[in-house]
Amino acid sequence: MARVGVFVCFCGANIADYVDVPQVVEEVKRIREVKFATEYKYMCSDPGQGMIRDAIVQHKLTSIVVAACSPRMHEKTFRKALSDAGMNPYLLEVANIREHSSWVHQKDKKAATSKAMDLCRMAVAKSIANEQLHEISVPVTKRALVIGGGIAGIQAALDIADARIPVVLVERSPSIGGKMAQLDETFPTLDCAQCILTPKMVDVASHPYIELIPYSEVIELQGFVGNYKVKIRKKASYVNFKTCTGCGACWQKCPVKVPNEYNMGIDKRKAIYTPFPQAVPNKPVIDAEHCTMLLKGKCGICAKVCEKGSIDYTMQDEIIEREIGAVVVATGYDMWDPAPYEEYGVGRFKDIITSLEFERMVSANGPTNGVPVRPSDGKVPKNVVFIKCVGSRDEAKGIEYCSKICCMYTTKHTILLHHKVHDSHAYVFYMDIRAAGKGYEEFVKKAQVDTGTTYLRGRVSKIYRKGDKLMVRGEDAQIGQVVEVEADLVVLATAVSAPKDNPELARMLGISYDKYGYLSEAHPKLRPVETAKAGIFLAGCTQAPKDIPETVSQASACAAKVCGLFAGDTMKKDPMVSTISNEYCSGCQNCVKVCPYGAIVTDEVPIGYGSKELRTVAKINEGVCQGCGSCVAICRSTAITLAGFTDPQIINEIVSI
């Protein structure tokens, strides 16, 4: 027989003014299982908690009901009081007689009192069915996986590794560096991107706690927070990185030319290549799609010139596995393809380029040695028109959101143009200038004055050819007229868009993504770094467009989160999770289907005691289970129980009024 103690709180006047507390206590005492009931001014105060502790010992109570404020407020406080008295904290139930009665029925004390009695009765009934629960402790593998080796991934990996936690950094392309490695200078200080990034890249390669796995992709993630297992596919590079010295003889002699991705296809690279001179690791890979040796078995020059014999045409993709405890996703962004802007003649006119192409041209190590040229005739342009918001803030043709960085990088481009071509003139068509950030507005102002750029507020409606010039027609909304600008070169500030394969990645990792393909954070304000899946964190543009300082901040925040997660040897977890009874489970696996966390897997158990024959049942991984109860409600054979919200507990509440 259960022995329940009930403690009704006055909450000063908050409850007592509108609910007749002594009457509630009297009424509660009439319940058979209630062996002790009392009232106090502030139950949450130390003396109040003391009363609970004393009564537990004195009256040999088996469960406790506190009738007070919302359990969302003080459940933890009272649970602690129970533990202090040596009682399992989960034998507590809270009757919410403040938010649900005294505060909302202030005009009818009788009704409020009667409702408070009912709420107490319900809590008592539920507490009778409460069971002792114990916090789940989950062991932790203290190694982090960082997906993506752009500035976000680099920063996160370095910060985690500096805390002496091993990091596995997986990068898809042959070198880390990401988009930032393609940039010339960075706003608002005009630091050279290479100068600030490459030291960090080198740090990554030489860090004792970082395992860099380039030219690889994550293909599978299993397990749960603290205990993930990841499968990584190492793409065949056809070059033995262990023996290769990076001398470069192979790619200097390679006869096959392929458009160079690093330079946005403006120039050519070889079929065996390092993406750029400062690449980390600085080892070449063979592009299997273009290498004639791999395609047709003819050539083999690179193998001949390699003194170390590092070229291996028979190399295969390799799957490697790592055990990790947390994941930082930093897959960056894609540049949006401006093809829908047919009125600009995108794809028809060669002298319309995207901002990243412009960035490569003005870059000192770029394909044109730092001088912007017209792709059509190679001439240096004099009049350059920059069009902002190409794809951004355009519901009809592009994406609804603001890409956040284009205002700033376009400003930077006008400066770079001015530096490289002194007699040039830049025109910028813009919707707004969004320069919120430290030193950003000043940067824009200064650039406008220094470069003498003409800013035209309005959208471009058409671009057409006139001789070898491009005529850019748009609106100048400030004078309310249509204007036409004769341009040698047009640069489109294309939008930042989510990586194309983010949805696939999200499904593989078991996290969610938004309608654009950006990965979703757990809470837009208070948990912007976490995902809804414990142990997976987001850094950089894969979550939303952001600039470099913001990306670095988020990456460091990820590192802090990972370090926090790994602070102990085990992790504690709420015990309100589901369990499945093997005898009752019929093995239909509907629960496996509805579980949003993939916490349910199948298991083989003997069909009867001692039998060798097996049958399939479902099994819950309590480390992953978040305790939503979806599986409980769909389980027809009621084989699943959710601790803290069991059927008996809820039915007791229902029938107890």
Binding site: S70, P71, R72, M73, N96, R98, E99, H100, S101, W103, V104, H105, Q106, K107, D108, A111, A112, S114, K115, D118, L119, M122, S512, A532, M576, V594, P596, Y597, Q626, G627, C628, G629, S630, V632, A633, I634, L642, F645, D647, I650, I651, E653, I654, V655, S656, I657
Partner: protein, 161 residues
């Protein structure tokens, strides 16, 4: 079979029971922890007043609500039930309320089919920020059920309190 149904329908008719004086309905409110329960707490902290007929049960998610909680409530103590969860897309557990929504519709229609008035089984989405909405919902449900009177269906053999 078809003819049988029709025949029986004509023959059976039972008098409606009349509500006793001072009768107050009991409404079982099953609320998800993250949105609606938090919303109902906000109604409290904002001191928005609503009728005292609702008795609130906390569950982690609307998807935890098994249809037979509703059946059980109506058979035993309640004259009506209200289940409330997070708005579509806001589920703390990603997709729970979508599964729940399907079950609720079928359950409501089935209970209505076997003789319960539709207003006795009601659902709402109330977010943690919608304190006033929660009060409005309770007002409406209480009003609806007061109009319908006490529920007697399948309560004949009820346990004695």
């Amino acid at each position: 079979m078809e003819t049988e149904v029709k025949d029986q329908l004509v023959s059976i008719e039972k008098p409606q029971l009349i509500a006793p004086p001072n009768w107050e309905p009991v409404i079982m409110g099953i609320l998800c922890n993250w949105c609606s329960y938090a919303g109902s707490d906000l109604t409290g902290t904002s001191r928005i007043q609503y009728p005292p007929n609702i008795r609130i049960i906390r569950v982690p998610c609307s998807s935890r609500v098994d249809p037979w909680f509703l059946i059980k409530s109506l058979q035993t103590t309640a004259d009506g039930v209200l289940v409330s969860g997070c708005h579509p897309g806001d589920c703390h557990y990603i997709s729970g309320n979508y599964y729940a929504r399907r079950r609720f519709l079928v359950t409501k229609k089935l209970l209505n089919f076997v003789g319960f008035h539709e207003d006795r089984i009601q659902f709402s989405w109330v977010s943690a920020a919608e304190g006033p909405k929660f009060a409005k919902v309770v007002n409406k449900v209480t009003e609806d059920i007061k109009k319908l009177g006490p529920l007697h269906l399948y309560k004949k053999e009820n346990f004695e309190k």
